[in-house]
């Protein structure tokens, strides 16, 4: 149990550091970000919004440590202020609308990539140097080193523009009303195919190579040799003896790569005009909507830490040694 508590404390501090960075960054930059924003959006924002903005950002006059306290209070009470691009919506409202789409996109893609990558990696390591390994491993290395932008743009061009098989943007047909209707769900499915699969291709290489190399490490261990010597079936040695242990580092990397997953999802959303957090962040950057950008960073950090915590708990389940500790 103390393991979980220690991790909890760690994540709390990590979030505090991220929030502090968020506080310091705009103050280190030349000029006053509030003025920069209002220079661009002067006509669309009423003066009381400016005042509200100054307050939520803690830019109100006063010594720095009081500003910091104010800022921390608004962060930990979840009050992230107004969005400028989407005024009069608050940052929370904008993010709450976008979050489910990102979860759908990044979640599906990650689960698919993790399963497909781990299974193929297990087989590639089992017959190391065989036909499957010779094709799949270099291919994964290539995919791993290819930016998400490139994969998404290529998919968009081939399936969206040249072949015209799939819609090129948005999460569903805009003429439909969101709801649990068959037309809406099937439209969401069709619109999601290309983003999900191109994002999956971005990640699958990494999981495959990690699993393959861990498996190869495991196959050299004594317990695997013992399993073989006992005359257990290949399948049993492969999955119950080697793959089960080889999966542990993959699960850890699942938590650590969550930042990268959100990054990849961000780019994919921009390319496919998918209305998730990444697309929102992109619009925020284009219009210099600082409250939105900062809220996005805080929420992404929070989500990453939460996922890491989930991975820690999963780890306790997978690794019996931690349960006893």
């Amino acid at each position: 149990m103390s393991f979980v508590i220690r991790r909890l404390a760690f994540y709390l501090v990590a979030f505090f550091v991220a929030a502090t960075a968020n506080f310091i960054l705009p103050r280190m930059m030349p000029g006053n970000p509030i003025d920069v924003m209002f220079a661009q959006q002067a006509t669309t924002l009423p003066p009381e919004a400016r005042q509200a903005l100054i307050e939520t950002f803690g830019f109100a006059s006063g010594p720095l440590h009081l500003q910091f306290l104010d800022y921390m209070k608004s962060v930990f009470t979840g009050n992230l202020g107004y969005s400028i691009r989407f005024y009069p919506q608050t940052v929370n409202q904008v993010l709450a609308y976008a979050l489910p789409w990102t979860l759908l996109l990044a979640g599906t893609a990650t689960i698919l990539a993790f399963c497909v990558g781990s299974v193929i990696g297990t087989y590639a390591a089992w017959r190391r140097g065989g036909a499957l390994d010779a094709i799949v491993t270099p291919l994964s290395l290539a995919l791993q080193a290819t930016p998400a932008v490139v994969i998404a743009l290529t998919a968009l061009f081939i399936f969206g523009v040249a072949l015209k098989w799939l819609p090129t943007g948005y999460a569903f047909n805009p003429s439909l009303d969101p709801g649990w209707t068959w037309a809406f769900i099937s439209s969401t499915f069709v619109h999601g195919l290309m983003p999900v699969f191109s994002l999956m291709i971005v990640f699958v290489g990494g999981y495959l190579v990690t699993m393959r190399n861990n498996m190869i490490g495991q196959l050299g261990e004594d317990h695997v040799t013992m399993g073989m010597a006992k005359g257990l079936s290949d399948r049993r040695v492969q999955f119950n003896y080697a793959a089960r242990n080889a999966l542990l580092p993959s699960v850890t990397s699942l938590g650590l790569t969550l930042g990268a997953i959100l990054g990849g999802s961000l780019v994919t959303e921009v390319v496919f005009n998918y209305p998730g957090l990444g697309q929102i962040l992109y619009l925020g950057i284009v219009t210099r909507d600082y409250p939105l950008i900062q809220g996005q960073l805080l929420m992404t950090t929070f989500a990453t830490l939460l996922a890491n915590l989930a991975v820690d708990l999963l780890y306790v389940l997978l690794d019996p040694r931690l349960r006893k500790a």
């Binding site: 991220a18 960075a21 743009l153 968009l156 930042g259 990054g263 600082y290």
Partner: protein, 302 residues
């Protein structure tokens, strides 16, 4: 030394990767010198497909895509190597210091490293770049360098810890060697392969990240790099109107260097990790033995 080189050249993955990287470096260094077209000049009509005149077509602004990708190679590689150097310097310094000195010093550095490691990178970089306005390639290199050292520091630290418990380190400690000599003469040479991995990985990461940041419009649109090429292509809807060369050329350029660098990394890993190298042979032998056993079993039964 010569022996190492021979092992290296015999590994097909490492060799292919090395060749790809060397070609890119040659293009980055000599390409612009051999070219008489300015990448920012209007050389033809907009969106011209590849032809003998404009080898890889033109952009919306009528700029030569071939000239742009050559100059872009120079920018992207320079940013990659520069940021890679910063990452390796910080990561190695912190990793060795934490692993060697230990104690509260180690605790603080490790804690800080882990914190940096769990904060999502790309969103953080986006926020920094957004606050700085349109950032030049040099600034992008610096911010990537200053935020991406955590992984290297962690790996270097754990390797330093295992080295620290070796007997030769104890022996040189007993003979009263100074810390500086311990670090530079005893530890650093044994960490070279880790540092090499860190460097190659960081260069790959930087090149990809730079392209991504610039694609999202956070770079300086007047600079010529693969990322800004993708940004302009996206902004002028090159894909929708079928001007595939504007996207394909920088995309292939980024993917190519990424593949080259990661093949190099993987090949070096195979060479330095004997288990990855020899296990194939061991597994094949085990399988052959099993097959033989089964045959014998079948024969005795028959």
């Amino acid at each position: 030394m010569f022996e190492t080189l021979k092992v290296f050249l015999r590994n097909r993955k490492a060799l292919t990767g090395l060749i790809i990287v060397l070609v890119y470096v040659a293009v980055a260094v000599f390409g612009p010198l051999l070219l008489n077209v300015d990448p920012m000049d209007r050389v033809g009509r907009p969106h011209q497909p590849p032809s003998p005149d404009e080898l890889l077509g033109t952009t919306r602004m009528g700029r030569d895509v071939f000239a742009q990708v050559i100059y872009g190679t120079r920018t992207s590689l320079a940013v990659g190597f520069f940021a890679g150097t910063i990452i390796v310097l910080i990561g190695t310094f912190l990793g060795i210091a934490a692993g060697y000195f230990g104690g509260w010093f180690d605790e603080v550095i490790t804690f800080f490293t882990n914190v940096v490691l769990v904060i999502p990178q790309l969103p953080l970089l986006l926020v920094i770049a957004a606050f700085m306005g349109q950032t030049s390639p040099l600034v992008i290199a610096i911010i990537i360098g200053l935020t991406s050292w955590a992984w290297g520091a962690r790996v270097t630290r754990s390797q330093t810890l295992t080295l620290r418990n070796r007997e030769y380190i104890l022996a040189s400690e007993l003979t009263g060697e100074r810390p500086a000599r311990m670090i530079f003469v005893e530890l650093l040479p044994n960490l070279l392969s880790i540092i090499g991995f860190n460097f190659i990985g960081s260069v790959t990461y930087t090149i990809i990240t730079q392209a991504t940041l610039e694609f999202l419009g956070l770079g300086n649109p007047m600079s010529v790099s693969w990322g800004t090429m993708l940004y302009h292509a996206q902004n002028t809807s090159a894909i929708t109107i079928g001007a595939w060369w504007e996207v394909l050329v920088p995309a292939v350029a980024v993917a190519g260097i990424g593949v080259g660098l990661s093949l190099l990394n993987f090949g070096v890993d195979e060479i330095s990790n004997p288990r990855l190298r020899t296990l194939g042979t061991v597994a094949a032998a085990v399988r052959a033995q099993q097959k033989l056993d089964r045959q014998r079993l079948a024969e005795t039964r028959a």
